[in-house]
Symmetry: D2
Subunit: 93 residues, 4 copies
């Protein structure tokens, strides 16, 4: 069980759509479409991926972090450090 | 003919790899893998997409923009405005 | 008392340095320095600001969020939602 | 003479405003304001800096790059490479 488990179907659907967007990018390049049009679609795909990341992160905070804190078993610090590292990677990607 | 035309095969290969990364993300979620591990892979996939965008943009400047300027036919301003708009979308995505 | 309170002096010092970087940018432009050199300094300043944001966010999670969860007083959800919104603004800025 | 020269006053004004925003951040921290409110202002300041960068880059393309290409003196490739490197730093900051 993880933060996102109850929304697995939603994430599966969003990732399938993103996979389709990436395939669409390959098709645009294969069809020699205009660079700027390809770039617009790359930005849209990146935004969709970032939205998935923000969703996963929110659920990580709501479930994994909150449970580790409530648990009081000493895992909270590590969970929060992991979350902060993931946020830093996201901001810089 | 566009900026990226001579590197089409390279872009096709990179996009196929990114498509595989997105499929890998869906698999990780289907297997209930740890949120933070999924997030690490989302960041890697986003970085790979951004690298494709930076490559396309560089070739747009080298070819489409440079040709429009050299051409002197008055298209340069529009090409540069399009490039700047694409850069802004990229920075904000 | 907030997450960052115990590190106030450190943040004050970092922000003074960033203020100096912004003043340096104004001076570079006043001296007609090369655009690309100005851009390199803008990127360095942006990175320094993002690092401040990541630090504040980490301390928000460690203190404000963790305390709200441990408290059990029902404020945890709101704190986490605020944190997720702040992360989203950061990723998109 | 650089791309931005004709808009120097505008950039000077924007950077003075950003300097004021950074000073405002220091004041918020000195006054122990709520972390999330500080983060909102950090995001606004980052966005303002990114907007300066996008403006400088657009003028670099419009002037420095376009002139180097029109000049035909062989400097165009270097200018474009510099611009692409600056874009990459911007996207990753």
């Amino acid at each position: 069980m993880h933060g996102y488990t109850q929304n697995k179907d939603d994430y599966a659907k969003r990732l399938r759509r993103i996979e389709g967007q990436v395939r669409g990018l390959a098709r645009m390049i294969d069809n020699d479409e205009y660079c700027i049009d390809v770039l617009t679609q790359v930005s849209a795909t990146t935004k969709a991926l970032q939205a998935v990341a923000l969703g996963l992160l929110d659920e990580h905070l709501q479930h994994c972090v909150a449970e580790a804190v409530a648990d009081g078993g000493g895992q909270a610090d590590e969970k929060i450090r992991e979350a902060s590292d993931a946020i830093a990677r996201l901001v810089r990607s």
